[in-house]
Assembly symmetry: C2
Homo-oligomer: 318 residues x 2
């Protein structure tokens, strides 16, 4: 949860003059989003989310993120739609920070996803992959497999603080992944962070997808592997194959996975575990002052990794 920047009434009134979205009625800082300051903005025309991009997001990448939301939204995906300013731009400046206003999405995240949810998640993921196929911008994934060694290096000196066997486990796995990563699988724009927090439901029906600030170009099936980790494990760490089956079924009802993508699933899931293990380790060891968040436990992702290391047959996920 985060509100890193305080916006005054005068700031927001002046800011809104650039838009044609009605008169200010209310502005509330919301406890959502770790990287940015988010505000629920109510105007005479409706509800919006105002986001101030803090230093954790690369300013140069904002046109990609906002452009992707605009593109997906125009393609019928229920995601936040950037509001255009009177001059046609979607990115502005407020309190010396890049800022944007996007449409508000109804719905709430589910805390205990069921099969019915994972099926819909699979479907929307595939719909996003297809819809993004003709998106014109590209952003190489900063958290792609080739960069994991570098991400690990930032924490390496202190990883022992978490678990004394962790360095060895990570180093061996990084070597395995480097040798077994399959770069010739279909590539495209992936969400890369489609956790339950980022998917809204209304009355059991998926109503929206948010938080595109990890989106990037990478292997499409890697996005599905991220979802397996995010949606198909129980609180006790056990894998729920039914949820995973529904996730695949939902995905394949929209986009068929190739035989190579399916066969790669155990490796992709190990990679997805590694990617989140590494950033969670970093976040665990480096809680930024004022972040007002409890970092996720990295060990949860070590356990995911250890589970996937036991899987030799991709059918075990389906």
């Amino acid at each position: 949860m985060a509100v890193y920047t305080t916006i005054t009434d005068a700031d927001v009134c002046a800011f809104l003059l650039q838009y044609d979205i009605g008169e200010l009625q209310s502005l509330k800082g919301i406890a959502e989003g770790i990287q940015n300051s988010n505000f629920l903005l109510s105007t005479s025309k409706g509800l919006y989310i105002l986001t101030l991009y803090e230093q954790m997001v690369e300013e140069k990448d904002l046109p990609f993120y906002l452009g992707l939301m605009e593109h997906l939204s125009s393609s019928g995906i229920n995601c936040p739609r950037p509001m255009k300013m009177k001059n046609g731009d979607i990115l502005s400046t407020l309190c010396k920070r890049p800022a944007a206003i996007v449409s508000f999405l109804n719905g709430v995240s589910v805390s205990k996803p069921q099969i019915t949810h994972t099926r819909q998640v699979g479907k929307i993921l595939a719909r996003m992959h297809l819809a993004a196929a003709d998106f014109s911008l590209a952003l190489e994934n900063p958290l792609r497999q080739a960069n994991w060694h570098e991400v690990y290096a930032k924490s390496q000196a202190r990883v022992m603080e978490i678990d004394k066997n962790l360095p060895q486990t990570i180093e061996r796995e990084l070597t395995f992944l480097a040798s077994n990563w399959l770069l010739d699988l279909p590539n495209g724009t992936i969400h890369a962070d489609l956790f339950p927090d980022n998917v809204f439901f209304l009355d059991g029906t998926l109503s929206g997808v948010i938080d595109f600030y990890f989106a990037a170009n990478d292997l499409l099936a890697f996005d599905l592997a991220i979802c397996i980790n995010a949606w198909c494990f129980e609180k006790d760490g056990s894998f729920n194959r039914q949820k995973s089956h529904a996730l695949f079924e939902g995905y394949q009802s929209v986009r068929n996975l190739s035989a190579a993508e399916i066969a790669a699933m155990p490796v992709l899931c190990r990679g997805a575990s590694m990617r989140f293990l590494l950033t969670r380790i970093y976040d665990w060891l480096n809680v930024p002052p004022g972040a007002m968040v409890t970092p996720h436990d990295p060990i949860e992702y070590l356990k995911r990794l250890q589970f996937h290391q036991t899987i030799t047959d991709a059918d075990d996920y389906q």
Copy 2:
């Protein structure tokens, strides 16, 4: 800012069944309120604020606070109106905490109050004092003058950490206030925390008053003294007499202050400074874990106190 308790989708759906305020559309934790967890709740019928009362608020006092909001709201004061459950109650339980839903108020707080704002604040304060005259519940102010010694005692051992002269200043002033406090002034229900954060404006017009969780029975003119401190000092610590003049003018356009109330103003302002100085000292020395707030600087209120100590003529405020 505060969200101390995480509410799941299942929790809130079950909770809403007790009310007749429409179907859940969205729930966002908001970064407002220090003592409670607050959520912006959107339903098919509109916007509401859902509050979970954390341990910092005395549960036994909730009927007073909620009853006062209901009473004031029925009397035409724009304040949060507690929503009645189907069984007629306004106080319920959610996530093992007392919980209530109140109406949402449009408006934003002003960060740089002007004369036009303080005049309206004076007016609404007097209107609340009159409207609360026939409110049937009572709550002795836990932060009344008689209790300041006790409040001070909780921080006494560590006050030197803030400023080495502070203990002597406080102790002398507490003695002065004990001898000069005028308990025979008109008494009633006061807001007791009408800071700029708790007053909303829309297009320069006061649109609502929030946060009644310090409301209590005390001297009415003490409430005005609290507002002098909260609204009539500049960021550099200097007193703005024009703002104070407008505050009085607004107040007296609705309720006449007695000669005794006016004469008592310097003492009441010293008391109002002491009351906030003491709680700010306590908060400064005891930041609760997970509170996600930067405590206010107590020294600001020491300076207010020192200013009021120089005032001998109550006319200097008007």
